[in-house]
Symmetry: C2
């Protein structure tokens, strides 16, 4: 199961009624944060997810509205008593910027490991999940994220029982390990059902819709994507500032055959994003306007599926 | 006239119901900011004072809860269209820290001038006001601020008229310039009343009450002072963390013969500062618990006084 919490939905600057765009993910109790602008720790305090279990921070890019909250967050994690390392992933340049920001957060009770990653890199996440990134197109180096939680093949217990495999070997077979019984080698795959789709989420912000993005995001259950401009008449601004309109985000979701789309990262000039929702739903019906505190839980379908 | 706006009243971290402690001052239309923790720009947007007229930023010290909002604020000032320089004053170490924070605010439409100041320094502010600082006692180098707006001596128009001084010379005499009339030198002081008290404000936070502080703050009209702990039983924490209790802040206000005291910089553990107000008012009756959005205007008494 993966739980998601949208902390904020704003671009450019935090506002009295709109926190900066940021996504929190919980995988088997451990937290993964995507972006951390000024003030991100404040809505986080409201929703009760706590700071101690943050093991991973993923940055899309190094603009202030996506990273200025890092020193405060690091203090919050330290104050929550975390002692285990925290790994922070970001595009090239991340080490320099985060070390600079740490001038005001020099002493922490945990180790901060900073990893610069780039196009095509895959990295491990809690619970056997995996992250991967590709480059987007923005004014600075920018990463689009995909998180995959693979699902094992179903163990065909009936067939194993029928074949007389003692139950003490089932666990190993289920995990995909071959076993030897009375000198006879049993390949794990013999009692595993067909491949099953896992869970997957895309986090895409502050980029133009680059050509390889739909393929990278193919089949994600949920795409959390920027929609800086609601009005399609602002397309030229989206091109100029290297962002997306609602219609472009919806087109991306459709092309990627995503399950659902959450829009976020609204321009301060977009007072009421709901007014423009129709520009997205006309292209991709299962679009929702994000809001601070919006939650969802993605779970594998029941084991019989 | 000096207008004051308390933007926040929290210490250590911004909270959903309490912004970090920060004071905004308006002198003849120009703004002076005291401290800038994470999120300071957010309440600022609420109260309509605008960002373009910020010419001066004064930092008490370099802990994150007093400076982490600087990159976001610099962006807000730039977005408001300011082109005139902004001067930022702070204790030794400020250049290094603010330059590090500017890694995420590298391009601004104005020049940021960073001035490290220390014990005894005086500096010019808008409208003929003057700032001065002394060292406090905290874990890092810390400055206590005093702002003085001097008041000119009253021009004795009746006496000037009686002495036959033509009105065209009055303005110069009023400004303290000697004039010559028909070869006769008229000293400015001849038609000026006695010295008059100006306006003055103290801004003191994150320090123990050091011995020279009452003298430095002598007679301020308003002291904006930290009261991290309301309960006097937390005195040992105040000593340990180098802060003040409400009672200590009130004692400082009384010793300095201040006109009024605003308490701010409450510990996150102090849920309801009003519960402890009596600990201050018992010592210094004109104490108020600060809140975000609290405003005051200090003006010279009418010219007849």
């Amino acid at each position: 199961m993966i739980d998601l919490l949208l902390l904020g939905t704003g671009g450019m600057m935090p506002m009295p009624n709109r926190w900066l765009s940021s996504l929190l993910m919980r995988i088997e109790g451990d937290l993964v944060l995507f972006d951390c602008g000024e003030g991100t720790q404040i809505p986080w305090q409201l929703y009760g997810w706590g700071f101690r279990r943050v093991g991973t921070i993923c940055l899309s890019h190094l603009h202030a509205d996506h990273v200025a909250g890092i020193p405060g967050l690091l203090h919050a994690i330290a104050n929550a008593g975390r002692q285990e390392p925290v790994t922070l992933f970001g595009p090239p340049g991340t080490v320099h910027v985060v070390q600079a920001l740490r001038e005001i957060a020099p002493v922490l009770g945990f180790e901060l490991r900073i990893r610069e990653i780039d196009d095509g890199v895959r990295f491990a996440l809690p619970g056997g999940a995996e992250g991967s990134v590709i480059r987007g197109d923005h004014a600075l180096p920018l990463l689009c994220y995909r998180i995959d939680m693979p699902r094992g093949r179903r163990f065909l217990a009936d067939e194993a029982a029928e074949a007389g495999i003692p139950q003490r070997f089932w666990s190993a077979l289920q995990k995909g390990t071959d076993v030897e019984i009375d000198g006879r080698r049993i390949p794990a795959g013999r009692f595993l059902g067909p491949e099953r789709k896992g869970l997957s989420i895309g986090f895409v912000t502050d980029t133009r819709p680059v050509p390889n993005l739909p393929g990278f995001l193919r089949g994600v259950d949920l795409l959390v994507c920027e929609g800086t401009y609601g009005d399609s008449a602002d397309q030229h601004k989206a091109i100029d500032k290297k962002h997306m309109t609602f219609a472009e985000a919806a087109t991306l979701a459709a092309d990627a055959q995503a399950g659902a789309l959450w829009l976020t990262h609204f321009s301060p000039a977009v007072n009421e994003p709901h007014e423009w929702l129709h520009n997205a739903t006309a292209i991709f019906p299962t679009t929702t306007i994000g809001y601070s505190g919006m939650e969802a839980s993605l779970a594998f379908p029941s084991d019989q599926d």
